[in-house]
Symmetry: C2
Subunit: 118 residues, 2 copies
DNA sequence: ATCGTCTATCGTCAATGCACGATTATAATA
DNA sequence: TATTATAATCGTGCATTGACGATAGACGAT
């Protein structure tokens, strides 16, 4: 059975929301998301997840295996990716299946545009 | 007279270069640039600079005046923006005119695409 | 019930980030 | 030459980051 992981945030983001967002909020949100990908290991994780078909999600141990880091370090990076809004996890028994937040790439790119070029 | 500020890095970036760049380098570069805009004050600075016509560049004191931070703090943020490749400065007498690195927005957006979606 | 697997968290350490006031260095100006 | 303006840097304090090994908790399988 698949249960919600309560601390894992939303599964999708809506680009429409950005239009009504005030600039201060935009700035903070862009800063937060940017911090999420401010480390090569986290970029690698985001890339792994974004290239994965939805029905074949990675579990944490897959990511540990793919990176040259200890399990604790990967878990910490995953935590930051969740806190900064890139990733969410679904608990499936003893495992956690990790996914990229839906539409986050378009959302980020649009946020960069809005926060900097407007 | 306008002189080079030796520590201020390049003035333009070329998106073409990204095509030949290996993935490890891409990751590091994206991580570095992302760190640059991982703070609201630095996003504000980048935004100020990107909205400025080339012939009317800001000097550092303009930026200090626009932000609710001490001069030392702004100087530190500007240093990070230079180190991470967003901004360069041209020394003009006692002043430093700050500019956004040419084409950096397109470069960053393309880097996000390449490092994550390829 | 016990074992092995999976994942989060704890504790630690060194390094870095961010804020500030104070100081210094340089250039323009009076 | 003395003064003022500009910007970088120093020194400090505090919080955060990033790495790790060790541990704990949850689950499935035997």
């Amino acid at each position: 059975m698949i249960t919600d992981a309560s601390s894992c945030g939303q599964r999708f983001v809506d680009v429409e929301v950005l239009e009504k967002m005030d600039y201060e909020t935009c700035k903070k949100m862009l800063a937060r998301l940017s911090k999420g990908i401010a480390h090569p290991a986290r970029i690698e994780i985001v890339r792994m997840l974004s290239n994965k078909p939805a029905e074949k999600k990675y579990i944490c141990s897959d990511i540990v295996r793919a990176l040259p880091l200890a399990q604790a370090s990967v878990s910490q990076h995953l935590k930051i990716l969740k806190e900064t809004g890139w990733v969410y996890g679904e608990i499936d028994g003893a495992r956690v299946r990790c996914s990229l937040v839906g539409n986050i790439m378009e959302y980020y790119r649009e946020l960069v545009r809005k926060a900097i070029q407007e």
